[in-house]
């Protein structure tokens, strides 16, 4: 069996996110790769259909001859998810989101409002404020948030159908700091799309998140900063898929004692424990 061909979503077909259907549950960032060529190959190898992008000030001179990065992304035929990275207030994030909507021609926005420069922890208050405003402007807001249950409730009440709690701080590669919190959010919001965004460091982190019942993974550094980004992209493709299958299949209950898996009836050289 060709695993590449079977790696489409199970359980009734494609995964639906914000009204669009996808096969892959892995979303990938476009930053920090050693070269544009490696970025392109890594995105393709990851199987991701959603790629995050950003906006920055650029001089007219640097844009002469076109925007090489943007041309590569356009060639890939992926759904772009613009972010508001670097914004520290609701107003900055709202303005950036509006600019992104015009340039990228999408009403999707990965809403980031940073509240702490050391951990890049999202500011929950500004996040709620910006979400409220952007939803009223017709955006589909995918908020990057802490793993806070009450914040999740507030964002869901505002109309978010996707929530993206962090696993751990952006770029830290520390995996899931608090699986309990993520598990509780999953349990409380069974119908929302939940994506672990930030902190994923290795494929097993992605598997762990997917086994918790999360709907998807968003990562960047784990692939871009790997020794071999293209190979790592593939590893995450399989990991995300494996984790999802594991969740859908339902894991066995843990037991305190060993239980033989091989039948004991007919065992030769039988030793009766006493």
């Amino acid at each position: 069996m060709d695993i590449e061909k079977t790696m489409v979503d199970t359980k009734g077909g494609n995964w639906e996110l914000e009204g669009k259907k996808f096969h892959s549950r892995l979303m990938i960032g476009s930053a920090l790769y050693p070269s544009p060529e490696i970025m392109k190959k890594a995105i393709i190898a990851s199987g991701s259909q959603i790629v995050t992008v950003a906006l920055r000030r650029q001089s007219a001179t640097s844009l002469q001859g076109g925007n090489q990065f943007w041309n590569i992304i356009k060639e890939l035929d992926v759904t772009v998810l613009p972010n508001t990275a670097g914004c520290h207030t609701a107003k900055e994030a709202i303005t950036t989101a509006m600019m992104a909507r015009e340039i990228f021609e999408t009403n999707w926005i990965k809403l980031e409002v940073i509240g702490n420069q050391y951990t890049l922890q999202p500011d929950p208050f500004a996040l709620v404020e910006a979400t409220k405003s952007l939803i009223s402007e017709g955006f589909r807001v995918l908020p990057y948030m802490t793993d806070d249950l009450v914040l999740a409730q507030k964002l869901a009440d505002l109309g978010c159908t996707t929530l993206m709690p962090w696993g751990s701080p952006i770029g830290s590669g520390r995996g899931l700091m608090n699986p309990y919190n993520l598990k509780v959010i999953r349990k409380q919001f069974p119908k929302l799309n939940l994506i672990v965004d930030a902190g994923i460091g290795k494929p097993s982190d992605a598997i762990e998140a997917m086994e918790l019942g999360f709907d998807g993974i968003l990562l960047n550094s784990a692939v871009a900063l790997a020794q071999e980004p293209i190979k790592m992209a593939k590893a995450f493709k399989y990991a995300t898929y494996a984790g999802r299958l594991g969740f859908e299949a339902g894991t066995m209950q843990k037991r305190d004692m060993a239980t033989p898996s091989t039948p004991t009836v007919g065992t030769p050289f039988w030793h009766q424990f006493s």
Binding site: L32, V53, R56, A60, L63, W70, A85, I103, I170
Partner: protein
């Protein structure tokens, strides 16, 4: 008049300029979005939006992001 463009102060001789005038003078093409004094300006409004001395213009375009 002096206008801050992407954080750098630029001086213009003409005292009545629109966003469109400034973008043309600086040779900006397509694939950009503009904010005037931290407020987004629709592309359709470049021609009618006057920029005053002391204003801040941010001109953004796509880059890599996570």
């Amino acid at each position: 008049m002096k206008i801050s463009i992407n954080g750098e102060i630029k001086e213009f001789e003409n005292k009545s300029l629109t966003i469109k005038d400034i973008l043309e003078e600086m040779n900006y093409g397509k694939g950009i979005a503009v904010a005037l004094n931290e407020t987004f300006v629709l592309r359709d409004k470049y021609q009618e939006t006057i920029v005053n001395s002391g204003d801040r213009l941010d001109i953004l375009s796509p880059v890599q992001g996570g």
